[in-house]
Symmetry: C2
Subunit: 306 residues, 2 copies
Amino acid sequence: MAILVVGHKNPDTDTIASAIAVADLFSKRGQEAKAISQGEIAPETAFVLEKFGLAAPEIVTDATDQQIILVDHTDISQTIDNLDKAELIAVVDHHKLGDVTTSNPLEMWVWPVGCTGTVIKSMYDFYNIEIPANVAGILLCAILSDTVMFKSVTCTDQDKAAVEALAKIAGVDDVMALGMEMFKVKSAVDGASPEELVFRDYKDFDMSGNKVGIGQLEVVDLSMLDAHKEALQAEIEKVKADGRHSVFLLLTDIMKEGSEMLIASDDAAVVEKAFGIAPNGTSVYLEGVMSRKKQVAPNFIKAFEA
Amino acid sequence: MAILVVGHKNPDTDTIASAIAVADLFSKRGQEAKAISQGEIAPETAFVLEKFGLAAPEIVTDATDQQIILVDHTDISQTIDNLDKAELIAVVDHHKLGDVTTSNPLEMWVWPVGCTGTVIKSMYDFYNIEIPANVAGILLCAILSDTVMFKSVTCTDQDKAAVEALAKIAGVDDVMALGMEMFKVKSAVDGASPEELVFRDYKDFDMSGNKVGIGQLEVVDLSMLDAHKEALQAEIEKVKADGRHSVFLLLTDIMKEGSEMLIASDDAAVVEKAFGIAPNGTSVYLEGVMSRKKQVAPNFIKAFEA
């Protein structure tokens, strides 16, 4: 029975590309492995997979009695159902360490870099295994996506070096042109429902016992969202009402490098506690804030602890 | 301020050697780091450090406001005090994944091998940093100790390859002779109090909400312990009475490759649940069982879940 390689719920390009690459790498190391997904892939990911001729992983949401490798997360709230009834044999990630635990020794590759794809590039090198051109292509896109084309504060020199090496393997001549093409697909908001937009890149966190959701929409120009803001606010109020303390939606302008955050919360004072800026009604503009992982989630975690 | 590199409570040779080596490695990578210990080193470790001319790390037990690297554990019950008030920047380990979490991305090197020293050898190679001869010597001893000179079920080919490479760097001609010398120091029981013997290699676990302690004494011949068993049983009963559900003491015969386990428990039926053998009073012999990490702790964790 193949090991299942799975990323987080609400899969993004990094989670899907990493699952496919790690399945390839482990299979070539002699442990047959298969990438799965916990849900439908996003439009950006569909674009990337099609570009490099790869199929979307099968959707599997139950880990019972399986051998599992996690990519791109270690939080129980973001992971496959019944992970506690599975055997977790490896983790490849670039986030904070979450609350997943194991009862047996395992393999973990976790680095503080901008993208899981960057870690996987080094794993291929470490095990001296050649990266297939199409896998290099999707890992390259994952890094461009997660680092917002190197603009995110999470981006490191290792991410840039990985993109350079992967571009050669994938035969991509103009990395930035590919990135812009990808972000235009990601930015497309017209025709999508408010629910689709809120959950396009959404994660639930446990913060000091409070369930807190944070979504993020990255666009090339915030004005694209003007016609949608009212409906997005109503949607996050609805999501909050379903047993959450707060739901925040980051509207990130990747060219201006800042985020407007929409707020639905039982106690909006946590926003000022977290960022030192009082919200204007249900919204606040956070200059320079582009990373949920490095700038938003840690500040809220601390604010909820205080 | 230097990053502090720290292993588990009740430090063994792997935890101390790993702290010293990782501090060396991170310092050479440009992040000044210093090994510390959470307690007095064991006689075996003192022998190893003296053999290779290294000093025991300073004892520091409070992590408040420090930058921390953990080696050889990820369990809160085994870690330095106030880790939640510190910044955890890296983990190097070879155990199951415990309940330590972080609020920021970090670096983790965790492999299912016999010893943290084996992981560290690969880290030096990965970062292309030369291992000093004395550091190679203590890492080599750590691997011999943790794998019981390659006899433990936790021992992998990677551990054996690491020892071979480290022996060359350290200038050790006869690895097994050094191992036997080390185990004789470790086995010395005369002159030690029952408390010293129980805590020589002891760990507390949280098992489904129950506090469970497991100690281990490795000797070259079980009969060395005959005169001590009664006192050891009384000592683990005392440790159990201090808020624990159970305390188990493994008396491991490294030549016969099996362990007698002394039992102090609120519900001794967990022993039969875990190993399928009914204890004879407060003791049971477990043929082939030498590893707390891979054979004893996982079985008890499952038995407590049932």
